[in-house]
Symmetry: D2
Subunit: 97 residues, 4 copies
DNA sequence: ATCGAACCCCCTTTTC
DNA sequence: GAAAAGGGGGTTCGAT
């Protein structure tokens, strides 16, 4: 392997005896594999949404439900209460408050 | 399937004999499971980046390389050429072009 | 605009007599100016949030209120109702429903 | 104005003498106004892109050029060099390097 | 602990 | 109507 001797100014990886390049490749291929799997899972998710939609469910509402399921009821209630409070202060109370 | 006919105006889910609620739950749980797995994979990705960083590689550059590897050389070259062309038209040619 | 036929393989800009480059530059500078202004406005928004926070308001709640103010009460009610419905079907009814 | 005693547990805004609600409203309306202006600017940007497209320019390439113009040539060169280096280490050198 | 930046996700719009 | 791209918002992480 000719050349490449000096001239690796400072903080580059600097392929030494093919080691570094191989390492880099390892990292990259591992990430690519993982990303592939993520993509597949994402496609499955999409399919399930599609099925649900075909079954008469609204994906948008499902997303909201999923989001809320990730939070504790306490959080949810707390937030809801605060929102309500702010709305009251703004005179946005929908009907009866 | 007895009763429950009135009061389900149109396209709501309307739990009929426990069927719909169960279906909805199926969808939701499948999605939640898939999302969990996606999250795990995402964490693995993060770990690999961390390793690479510890190994002296710049994650930012790695991301760029990953992005470019997802595209065909033709696309890349085409785009690069066009960018260069536009830059020339703008007088942005960095040095020698 | 006559001419231009030869040697512009397909849809490249191709600076002819300095015209195209100037045009491109116009577009680019107009966009850059507009983006600058957008950025400034964004900073002002940030400042207002900061003030509100100093005044004891929770930015997170404010964001929710802002979001809801952009929608009609009908939309909101409709959505809320659907979410409630789905939750019921899932047995997620928080307390009294 | 006394009253309002019960039921304002702790850290809510608590409209006292109409002051807080008014304050909140000020914040909210200021933000809404700023956001409106941002939206308008965004529409202008869109229009310019449309014009440029009609003029034969590729919006995608324009975006890339805009992005690069926001960075200093030093940054760009530095990054480009590193990407090139990594690609070499990976044996991704397209043709001549 | 606050600030800023990077990343990820959702949504809207546009294209095919 | 579906798929893709771009823009915006939210969140999390790292840095100070």
């Amino acid at each position: 392997m000719p050349g490449l001797h000096q001239a690796t100014p400072s903080q580059q990886p600097a392929d030494v005896a093919g080691i570094t390049g191989a390492h880099l490749l390892q990292y990259i291929e591992r990430i690519e594999r993982l990303e592939e799997e993520k993509t597949e899972l994402g496609e499955h998710v999409k399919e399930v949404f599609q099925e649900a939609k075909s079954g008469g469910f609204d994906p948008k509402i499902i997303r909201i439900v999923l989001r809320e399921r990730k939070r504790t009821p306490e959080e949810l209630d707390e937030e809801e209460m605060m929102v309500h409070l702010y709305k009251q202060a703004l005179g946005m109370t929908p009907a009866a408050s």
